[in-house]
Amino acid sequence: MNYLRLLAAFFWANVMSELAYRVNFVWQLFQSFLSLGISWGGLAVIFSYTETLGGWRPDEILALVGVYFLVGGLVGLVIQPGMEQFIESVRDGTLDFTLTKPEDAQLTTSIKRIEIWKLIDIALGVAVLVYWPLMKGLLAGRLRRDESFAGDSRRKYPMFQGDEYRKNLDLVEELRRIAALSGHTVAQLVVNWTIHRPGITAALCGAKRPEQLRETAAAAGWTLTGEQLAEIDEALARRGTPATRVPV
């Protein structure tokens, strides 16, 4: 308990010291998004020349970038700055101040510096990992079979074209039936299924209208029955492997 209080105290001290440097504070917000944007841009250049990179598809590499932001963010949040500070304090002798404190010196040196900015990286990493849980509206269950996607960027994805699109909508119909068993909508079923996958902690869902928000909010707070899960697996197996997810 004492450790937690120490952690909170150090965290606040770090927030306060960052707040003192306002320009850096504001700029850092912009910087995190820019970093992710540049990573994405680099991948876009690479995948404009190839379909797969050593057997990895773009969405898989993007997931890897997500993991990188998440793990790198955690390391950069507390481990790395603590180590750097430690090296510095050995060199200039300020470690004495830490050693003479009554608390465990190993803990206090480790958590003394917290790079709060890395929290943004962690959040971005999580966001990327669960990107498009509703697959750009496909799994929201409201697209019509004769949807033309005119003037819509979705048109260039194979999953919204011809036979692939038909197969996908068949799957959505199956899911609608399974969801109805427990009185839920397709979108609620999809989001619920996603957040109950092992390793997933959150799902970020876009919405254009308030009722979409209300709908996805109701995706949490219940669990799919074993029967429903089995039926979903079956429906996925029947659907087969999608052709490609790369825009063409």
Partner: protein, 267 residues
Amino acid sequence: MKALVELYTQQFKTTLAVMFQYRAALLIWMIGQVLEPLVYLIVWQIISKSSGGSIGGYTTSDFAAYFIVLMLVNQFTYTWIMYEFEYRVREGILSFALLKPVHPIHSDIADNVSSKLITLPIMVLIAVGLALGFHTSISPAPWAIAVFIPVLLLAFLVRFLLEWTLAQAAFWTTRVSAINQTYFVLMLFLSGQMAPLTLFPHAVQVVADILPFRWMIGFPVELLLGRLTLTDALIGLGAQVAWLLIGFLLLRLVWRAGVRNYSAVGA
């Protein structure tokens, strides 16, 4: 002039002593300098192999040559002033430098040049080893080699002046880590460190031509690889000279205003 020569010799001795004191740190830092271009080298070689041995005029072996030369150019032009300056302002160390009768940029140049005299020979050896390992070689035209020497020097000077100027943001904001990161991310994307710029979409190439990053890294590399015509090289040289003048003017203006604004923070 004599005073400056003395300053440079003295700084050289000090830098040498410091570098030998922190040998392990130096080694780890050099591993980082080699690994980054190596990662991009391998990525682009894989892509090139999977699309039949060449992309956008670069064969698999050209990619190796590109990134190995890039590693050397980056090593030659690299500065660490942007990390250093924040520390100087924040801890107030700059005050000592201001008391000296010469501009503090001189000791930074001397420090930078002398540490490179030590690291460059090692990097050249590593580059030769890599070139043998990846079975690649370059055969630039004699004129390209002749132009390359001033181009490389200009690249170093432009990078040094611009980064020294940007580092002075610390005079106003004290903490500059976010600004530094933005600079390095843009540099990664627009200098040719991630991929040869000719592989990028046209719009990105236009932006890269306007900004200084390309002229500090990508341009010397392309020149030595024999990818530029004499006209391209002269245009590039012109861009470098233009950026050198801009950098020099900015440095003078920002330094004058910055020193007036300077207050040692001491925390």
